[in-house]
Amino acid sequence: MAKKYIADNIDLASDLSMASSSSGEQKIVIGNTDGAQTTNDYSKIHLTGKSDISSSLVGAEINLNTGGAGVARVNFNSSFSYSNTGSYKNAKIGYVGGNNDDFYVQQIDGSTASNNAGFIITTADVRLIGDGIKIGGTATANRLDDYEEGTYNLQFRLFKISTTTSSITVTSSDFGYFLNDSTYTKIGNKVTLYIDLKYYNPTNSNWTTATTWYLGLHNLPFAVKDAGTSYTGAVGGTYDFFSSFHMDANTGNNFFMSKGGYSNYDNAIAFKSASNTINYGWRPLFSSEAPTYYNPSSGTVHLTGVITYSTDV
């Protein structure tokens, strides 16, 4: 079929119908092919509603109805790299009232007081894979760029005081029973560990004899922020958590968490008393012991607690 070129505007007194019984696409193509582009010499569709239309009625609307199982979509394609900072961008939606945002949502549905959210997504994710989202400002400090939750293979590690390299990783094979249900949540550069450990009868002899070892949690999901040997986070937890680690009566709550060992250990947190003396402090108890603070009736020690620390990423 030959194309028909129309030089003037088309005034439609009724609907424009393109229904066809033949196969293939039915489409309207608006293209400017007159050579060099000049100001306002572009292709566009305007849908302008009546100026006196009631606020309760739709003034202008585009509906994409598949009529079947197909996909309804709008594509924004541009191969030209224009300015990223100007008013005009390559592919955008919602250029409203002079705002330069790629995606500007003023208020989609303000018809009722209870349904006036600016942006509603009911069945899909919002995915921010690039630079994250800035909240409350435009500085780097306002950026939230990471959220993640998962599990990790928590291990105990014994660090020997006054050395830099002597340490022992105590794995699940050193226990008669070991169950780790610990999880983590990372928000930005803060990591929260939810510790949930059950173990029974650790067999590593260093746990009973060496008072110069202090306990660490090892194989953390994220490396600890480099803060030297100073405080690195906070710990809280249930009664079981503290008592199972048998706080030293001489130091009470006066303990601190440090990055594991010295600066060479990046993926461990150590618990030690402020004086570096252990005196049975900060080591898990044996089921055969009768500690002052905790006497597991079942013979199985259950540690639960929460630790928050900073990471570099």
């Binding site: 993640e148 006054s162 953390l220 999901p221 490396a223 480099d226 060479n264 990046d266």
Partner: protein, 99 residues
């Protein structure tokens, strides 16, 4: 209608001065080709624990090859030696003040 479970390393990061290797493993459960569930598990490995890159778990070794260089190992050993020296000095100082 069959469920398929896949487990693969989906992120490896090198963090900090000593290039601690953070490994994230993703587990997906798919039904008819669509992922219906996914979860993460993490492990971390630090240079000080491995005298050779080949001591690492096999699937992590390729990542360590390019980062845990001999130069980095030498720097770590120098750092350990410096700490040991500092500790020795502090202990000597504490010992002399007690006596």
């Amino acid at each position: 209608m069959s469920l398929v479970k896949t487990i693969e390393i989906d992120k490896v990061e090198f963090v900090g001065k000593w290039k601690t290797i953070q490994v994230r493993t993703r587990t997906d459960v798919s039904e008819e080709g669509s992922v219906i569930s996914s979860s993460y598990e993490r492990d971390s490995y630090q240079l000080i624990d491995y005298s050779a890159n080949t001591d690492l778990p096999q699937d992590v070794q390729p990542y360590a090859e390019g980062v845990w260089s001999q130069t980095l190992r030498d720097e770590l050993q120098a750092d350990i030696d410096a700490h040991a020296q500092k500790i020795a000095e502090l202990e000597a100082e504490a010992s002399s003040s007690e006596s």
